[in-house]
C-alpha cells in the first residue's frame, strides 16, 4: 500500500490560512519573549536599589514590570482566540471533506468500516489533528522561543550560568525522552487492561437479561473483581515508570536550580556578579521546567496527530470504484430490465454470477429463488449498481447503469432489504432521508397509510416530527413497513424486494400484501424470495443455482410443470432456499 505523506494534508488545509498563521507566529514570538523580561526587571530593580538609585527610577522599573506582565498575557489571549477560530475553520473543512468522501465510497467499503470507526476517522482523528495544528504547534513554538530566550539572556548575564542552565535543560530533556519511552509498554499495558475491563462491562451490561436469567450475576461480578485487580497492578506499575520519568526530570531541574544559586553565590563573592543577577538566574533556572514539560506534552500530541493525519490521508486517497456515468437519462414510468451475459465476481474471489441473460418487460414482476449463496442478493444489488459487473452489461430502461449518474439511477430504482436502517431523526427525515426525497406532509401520510402505518402514525406524540429512537417507538416489523414507505415515496420505476418481508410474521404480511400490491402496480419488480408465498404476485420466476439461471419461465407454467424445480418445491411446501 502506498502511504501518502501526511504533511501534505496539513499543508493543503493550512494553505488558505497562511497569512493568518504568519501573523499569529509573529504575535506569539513577542508574547513568549516578554516573560523573559520579567526576572531581568526584578534583577535590575534589586541592583538599582543596592546602587542607591532614586525611588522614582525603582517605581519606573516596577511599572514596566507590571506593563510587561499584562502585555504578555493579553497577547497570549489574542493568540489563543485566533488559533481556536482557525482550528475550527480548518477542522470543519476537513471533516466535511472526509464525510463527503466516505459517503461516496461503495457499500463493500462500508461493510468493512463500522460507523464507530468512521466517527473516529471523521471526528476523533481530526480533533487531534486540528488541536495539534492550532494549539500544539503554536505552544511548541512558543515554548521553544521562551526556552531560547531564557538561555540567551542567561548567557549574556554570565556565560557559566548560561551553560549550567542549558546543561540542566538538556539533561532533564534527555531523561524525560528516555524514561518516557521506557514507560510506554507499561502505559500500553494499563490501556489494554482498561480496554478489557470496559469491553467486558459493556457486554455484561448489554446482556443483563441473559445474566439474570442464567443466574450468572455473581460470576459477572467476579469478572469485574478480576479486571479491577489487574488494573490496580497495571496502574501502579505504569505510575512508577511514567511518573518516574517526570520525577527524574524534576530532580535534574531542581539540582540545576540549586547549582545555579550556588554558582551565583560563588560569583557574587568573587565580585563577578551583582545580587540582582543572582536572583534573575535563580528565577530563570526555575522557569525552564514548565516550558519543557509542555514541549514533551505536545510531542505526544504530535504523534497522535500524525497518526490521525495518516489515517485521514489514507481515507481521502481511497478512490471509489463506482463513479458517475456521463448521465444518460433513464426514462420515466416502469422500467425494462436487461442483463446481457452478466458475469460477476467480488474482487478476485470466485464467480458469484455467470453469464446471466435476463430480459424483463416494463411492469413485470420477477421472482428470484435459489439456495443461500446462489447469487440472488448480488443480482438485486447489481440493478442499483452497488457493484459493477465483471463482464456483460446491466441495463435499466434500456440505459446501461454505468452510463447514468448514480443519483439518477438510485432515484429510479428502489430497494427494500431485510436490514432496516433508521436514523435517530424525525419520522419525516427518515422517510425523505433528510429531505433528499421531496414530499409534503400530505404525501407522507398517504404513503404511511398505504403500508398500514396510519394507525401507528396517529399514535405518535408529535406526528411526523416524532424522533425515532431505538425500538421503543418502532418494532422490527414496523421498521420494515417504514422502509417500504420510504422507497415508494421516491416513486421508482423498478423495485427490488430483497427478502423484504422476512421480519414480518405471516399475519402482518398478509395484512399488508394488498397495500404492497397496490404500491407495486405500474412498476417493474424483482422479488428475492424468502417464502414461496411471497412469490404469489410474480409473473415470472427464475431459479438460480451456483450463479447460473437453471430455470426461467412464467410462474404459472413452472408451477404446473411436474419436472420444474419450482413446481416441485411448491408442492413439497419447501422454503425458497431449498429450491434448486
Amino acid at each position: 500500500m502506498t502511504e501518502p505523506a501526511q504533511p501534505h494534508l496539513l499543508a493543503a488545509y493550512l494553505r488558505p490560512e497562511r497569512l493568518r498563521v504568519a501573523a499569529l507566529v509573529a504575535v506569539l514570538v513577542v508574547a513568549m519573549l516578554l516573560p523573559v523580561a520579567g526576572p531581568v526587571l526584578i534583577g535590575r530593580f534589586v541592583d538599582s536599589a543596592a546602587a542607591g538609585q532614586p525611588v522614582s527610577s525603582l517605581l519606573a522599573i516596577a511599572g514596566t514590570f507590571l506593563a510587561v506582565a499584562v502585555g504578555a498575557d493579553a497577547l497570549q489571549l489574542l493568540v489563543a482566540w485566533r488559533s481556536v477560530r482557525m482550528a475550527w475553520r480548518m477542522g470543519n473543512r476537513l471533516r466535511t471533506d472526509l464525510a463527503r468522501h466516505a459517503l461516496g465510497l461503495e457499500l463493500a467499503w462500508h461493510g468493512e468500516h463500522s460507523p464507530g470507526v468512521l466517527i473516529e476517522r471523521i471526528d476523533g482523528d481530526i480533533d487531534a489533528l486540528t488541536k495539534f495544528a492550532s494549539t500544539a504547534v503554536l505552544q511548541l513554538l512558543g515554548n521553544a522561543v521562551l526556552l531560547s530566550g531564557v538561555f540567551v539572556v542567561s548567557l549574556v548575564i554570565d556565560w557559566r550560568a548560561g551553560l549550567l542552565i542549558g546543561a540542566a535543560t538538556l539533561v532533564a530533556a534527555a531523561l524525560m525522552v528516555r524514561l518516557r519511552t521506557a514507560a510506554v509498554p507499561a502505559h500500553d499495558d494499563e490501556r489494554e487492561v482498561l480496554g478489557r475491563l470496559y469491553g467486558d462491562l459493556e457486554e455484561r451490561l448489554g446482556g443483563l437479561e441473559d445474566l439474570r436469567a442464567n443466574g450468572a450475576g455473581r460470576y459477572a461480578l467476579h469478572r469485574l473483581h478480576e479486571h479491577s485487580a489487574r488494573w490496580w497492578r497495571a496502574a501502579r506499575r505504569a505510575s512508577l515508570k511514567g511518573d518516574g520519568a517526570y520525577v527524574a526530570a524534576g530532580i535534574a531541574f531542581s539540582a540545576g536550580s540549586a547549582l545555579t544559586l550556588a554558582l551565583g553565590v560563588y560569583l557574587f563573592r568573587g565580585d563577578q556578579m551583582s545580587i540582582g543577577s543572582v536572583l534573575v538566574l535563580f528565577r530563570f533556572s526555575q522557569m525552564i521546567r514548565q516550558p519543557l514539560e509542555h514541549i514533551a506534552e505536545q510531542m505526544r500530541e504530535l504523534q497522535k496527530a500524525a497518526a490521525g493525519a495518516r489515517r485521514a490521508s489514507r481515507l481521502l486517497a481511497t478512490r471509489p470504484s463506482i463513479v458517475d456515468g456521463p448521465g444518460t437519462p433513464i426514462p420515466e414510468g416502469p422500467l425494462t430490465v436487461d442483463l446481457d451475459s452478466v458475469t460477476f465476481a467480488y474482487g478476485d474471489r470466485r464467480t458469484v454470477l455467470a453469464e446471466i441473460d435476463l430480459h424483463l418487460a416494463a411492469g413485470t414482476v420477477l421472482g428470484v429463488v435459489g439456495r443461500t449463496g446462489s447469487g440472488k442478493t448480488t443480482l438485486g444489488r447489481l440493478l442499483l449498481r452497488f457493484w459493477d459487473v465483471t463482464e456483460g452489461a446491466v441495463r435499466v430502461g434500456g440505459v446501461d447503469v454505468r452510463a447514468a449518474t448514480i443519483a439518477e439511477l438510485r432515484r429510479r430504482v428502489g430497494i427494500v432489504t431485510q436490514e432496516v436502517e433508521l436514523l435517530r431523526a424525525s419520522v419525516r427525515d427518515n422517510l425523505t432521508m433528510l429531505g433528499a426525497i421531496p414530499a409534503d406532509d400530505r404525501r407522507l401520510a398517504e404513503v404511511l397509510a398505504a403500508v398500514d402505518l396510519d394507525g401507528w402514525l396517529a399514535g405518535l406524540p408529535d406526528g411526523l416530527d416524532t424522533v425515532l429512537e431505538g425500538t421503543d417507538t418502532l418494532s422490527a416489523g414496523e421498521g420494515q413497513l417504514l422502509a417500504f414507505a420510504r422507497v415508494f415515496l421516491a416513486d421508482p420505476g423498478l423495485v427490488v424486494l430483497d427478502e423484504a418481508s422476512s421480519r414480518l410474521d405471516p399475519a402482518t404480511e398478509a395484512r399488508i400484501t394488498a397495500a404492497v400490491d397496490r404500491l407495486l402496480a405500474g412498476r417493474t419488480v424483482v422479488v428475492i424470495a424468502h417464502r414461496l408465498a411471497t412469490l404469489d404476485r410474480a409473473d415470472e420466476i427464475i431459479v438460480l443455482d451456483h450463479g447460473r439461471v437453471v430455470e426461467h419461465g412464467s410462474r404459472h407454467d413452472l408451477a404446473g410443470d411436474p419436472d420444474s424445480r419450482y413446481g416441485r418445491a411448491l408442492r413439497l411446501g419447501r422454503r425458497p432456499e431449498a429450491v434448486g
Partner: protein, 574 residues
C-alpha cells in the same frame, strides 16, 4: 435551593467513598501536602542565602543552607514518586467501589431488568467509566486543594510577619480572580454544556448516517447528509469556540495573578528596599511564595467544577439503581484489589432426579398477567405449565409474545398478575424463576467474549457440559474449531454465525439442567431440521419429562405442542 442540596449530596457521597479506604487516603493526603509545602522552607532558605550572600551571619554557613535547599528540592520529587504510585492504587479503589455495588445491583438484585439501564449499554458503560471517574476526581482534588491551602496559609503567615501591607497587596489579585472565576462560572458551565451537546449531535449524526449507509445511498441522500453535517458542524464550531476561549480566559487570568502580585509588591517596597528595611532576601521569599499563592485560584476553580460535575455524575449513577439512593453505590464492599479475588467457586448443578423440595417443578400457574405500555402490552393472561408439558405461544408482530415470556420471568415490570410455583406464590420472580428452576433462551441472545466453555457455563460447574453441547446440536461445530471449547468467541476471537450463537445460548440454558425451559423463537437462526433435532434430543435426554414454553411461528413446532396460546394484541385467543 435544590442545587445546594444536591451539591452537598455529591460531597456526602464522596465523603462516604473516602471512608471506604481511610488509611490509604490519609497516606495520600500526607504525601500531597508534603509535596505542596516544600516551597515554604525553600523560600526561607533562599531569604537566608540572599541576606547572607556577602558574608556568613551568625547561623549556618551559606553553603550549608545551599545544600539543605538542594536536598529539599530533590527530596520533594522523590517523595512525589512514592505518593504517585500509592495514589494510583487509591484511585483504582475509588472507581471500583461504586462499580462493584452498581453491577451487583444490576445483575443480581431482585426486580425487573427491563428499564434498569436508562439508555443503551454503551451509555451505561460511560456511567461506569466517566461518572465513576468524576466522583473519584472530587476526592483527588481535595488532596491538591489541601496541599495548596496549607502551603498558601503558611506562605501568607510568613509574608505577613515580614510586611503585612505587601502581603495584602500580593493577595489582592488572587482574591480578585477567585471572585471573577466565581462570577464567570455559571456562564462557562453553560458554554461547556452547549459545546458537549453540539459535539454529541455531530458524532451521533455520523454514527447514524453511516449506520444507515445503504438507505442513504439508495435514496441518493448524500448531498442532503452533507448539508445537515455542515450545519451541525457550524453550530458546533460556534459553541466550541466560545467554550475554549472562555476557558483560556480564566486560565490566563489565574496565571496572571502571580506576576501582578510581584509587580504590586515591587511598587510598594521600592522606598523600603531603598532604605534597606526590606531586604533582597525578603524579595526572594516573596517572589517564591507568590507563585504558591497564584496556584490557589486554579485549584479553587477545580474544586467547584469537580464538585458540580460530580453532582451530575452522582445522579447519573443513582439512575442505575432501582431506587435513586446514592449512598447505596458507595456502600462498603470488599474490593480485594491487592491480592485479586481468587478463582471463582463454580456453582454445582444437581441432577434433575436428585432435586427435592421447591426446586422440583410440579406445576407453574400464572394468573391475570398484565403488562401495560403505550401501544401494546398484555392483558389478563392465564397460563398453567404442568411438568412434562410443551406449550407453544404464537401470534402476529407486536402481539406481546416476547413480553409474555419476559413478564412471566419477572424481567419486565408487571402491572398485575400472580405466579404460583407448585402452588406457592412467587414474590420475587426475577430471583426465583432462575436456574436450576427455569432457564431462558432469549430471541436475540447475548454471548460474552471469553472461551466457548466459559460463555456457556458462566460460573456453573461443567458436569452437564457435554450433554448440553449435544442437546444444543453444537458438538459438531465445537469439533470443527481448532481449539474446541477453549476457542475464544466474540469480537476479538472467532465470530460465530447467527445459528451458532443461538445454539450456544441453548447450550447455556441446557447446561443448567432447568426444570422449565423458556425459549423465545429459535427459527430466525436455526433451520427447521436442526430445530426439530434439538427438540427430539431434549425429549430423549429427559425421557419426555422436559417442561417447555416456546414462542414460535413454525408449524412443525406448533405441531409438537400439548397446548397452544395464540396471542392477538396482548390477549390470548385459545
Amino acid at each position: 435551593m435544590t442545587a445546594t442540596a444536591s451539591r452537598s449530596s455529591s460531597v456526602r457521597v464522596a465523603w462516604q467513598l473516602l471512608r471506604r479506604e481511610p488509611v490509604a487516603y490519609a497516606i495520600s493526603w500526607i504525601g500531597w501536602v508534603l509535596f505542596w509545602a516544600v516551597p515554604i522552607p525553600v523560600g526561607l532558605l533562599l531569604k537566608a542565602i540572599l541576606d547572607n550572600i556577602g558574608a556568613d551571619g551568625d547561623g549556618a554557613s551559606v553553603w550549608t543552607l545551599l545544600v539543605v535547599l538542594g536536598a529539599l528540592e530533590v527530596g520533594r520529587w522523590i517523595e512525589l514518586l512514592f505518593a504517585a504510585v500509592q495514589w494510583h492504587g487509591v484511585w483504582v479503589a475509588w472507581h471500583t467501589v461504586p462499580r462493584l455495588n452498581l453491577l451487583r445491583s444490576l445483575a443480581s438484585d431482585p426486580g425487573p431488568t427491563a428499564g434498569r439501564l436508562p439508555r443503551s449499554p454503551g451509555d451505561a458503560v460511560s456511567r461506569f467509566r466517566d461518572d465513576c471517574q468524576d466522583l473519584a476526581l472530587v476526592l483527588d482534588v481535595w488532596l491538591d486543594i489541601s496541599g495548596a491551602a496549607v502551603a498558601a496559609g503558611l506562605a501568607v503567615g510568613i509574608m505577613a510577619s515580614i510586611d503585612l501591607r505587601v502581603t495584602v497587596a500580593v493577595a489582592l489579585p488572587v482574591v480578585a480572580v477567585l471572585w471573577l472565576a466565581h462570577w464567570l462560572g455559571p456562564r462557562l458551565r453553560a458554554w461547556r454544556r452547549a459545546a458537549r451537546e453540539a459535539t454529541a449531535a455531530v458524532t451521533g449524526f455520523i454514527g447514524d448516517t453511516y449506520g444507515a449507509i445503504t438507505a442513504v445511498k439508495t435514496a441518493g441522500a448524500e448531498a442532503a447528509v452533507e448539508r445537515r453535517f455542515t450545519e451541525l458542524g457550524a453550530s458546533r464550531a460556534r459553541a466550541a469556540r466560545r467554550d475554549e476561549v472562555g476557558t483560556q480566559l480564566v486560565q490566563t487570568l489565574s496565571g496572571a495573578t502571580g506576576n501582578l502580585g510581584i509587580g504590586l509588591a515591587l511598587l510598594l517596597v521600592a522606598p523600603a528596599i531603598r532604605r534597606g528595611d526590606f531586604t533582597v532576601g525578603d524579595l526572594g521569599l516573596f517572589t517564591t511564595y507568590i507563585v504558591v499563592l497564584a496556584s490557589l485560584p486554579r485549584w479553587f476553580g477545580r474544586v467547584g467544577a469537580y464538585t458540580r460535575q460530580a453532582e451530575v455524575s452522582v445522579e447519573r449513577l443513582a439512575e442505575l439503581l432501582p431506587e435513586p439512593e446514592p449512598d447505596f453505590f458507595v456502600a462498603p464492599v470488599a474490593t480485594s484489589l491487592r491480592r485479586g479475588p481468587g478463582p471463582f467457586p463454580a456453582v454445582p448443578v444437581d441432577r434433575p432426579d436428585h432435586r427435592r423440595g421447591d426446586t422440583r417443578l410440579r406445576r407453574l400457574d400464572v394468573r391475570g398477567l398484565a403488562v401495560r405500555f403505550p401501544g401494546g402490552g398484555l392483558e389478563g393472561l392465564d397460563l398453567t405449565l404442568e411438568r412434562g408439558s410443551f406449550t407453544a405461544v404464537t401470534g402476529p408482530v407486536g402481539s406481546g409474545k416476547s413480553t409474555l415470556l419476559r413478564a412471566l420471568l419477572g424481567l419486565v415490570p408487571v402491572d398485575e398478575g400472580t405466579r404460583h410455583w407448585n402452588g406457592v406464590r412467587v414474590d420475587e420472580p426475577s430471583t426465583f424463576l432462575v436456574p436450576p428452576r427455569v432457564a431462558y433462551l432469549p430471541q436475540v441472545p447475548r454471548l460474552f467474549s471469553e472461551t466457548l466453555a466459559d460463555t456457556i457455563l458462566l460460573g456453573v460447574d461443567d458436569a452437564a457440559l457435554d450433554e448440553a453441547l449435544r442437546l444444543a446440536c453444537l458438538e459438531d461445530d465445537v469439533a470443527e474449531m481448532p481449539e474446541g471449547l477453549a476457542t475464544v468467541v466474540g469480537p476479538k476471537g472467532v465470530r460465530l454465525s447467527g445459528g451458532q450463537v443461538q445454539r450456544t445460548a441453548a447450550a447455556r440454558a441446557f447446561v443448567r439442567r432447568p426444570e422449565l425451559l423458556v425459549v423465545d423463537d429459535l427459527s430466525s437462526a436455526l433451520d427447521v431440521e436442526t430445530e426439530a433435532v434439538l427438540w427430539d434430543r431434549l425429549f430423549v435426554a429427559t425421557s419426555g419429562d422436559a417442561t417447555v414454553l416456546v414462542v414460535t411461528h413454525r408449524q412443525e413446532v406448533l405441531d409438537r405442542a400439548d397446548r397452544l396460546i395464540r396471542l392477538d394484541h396482548g390477549s390470548a385467543a385459545l
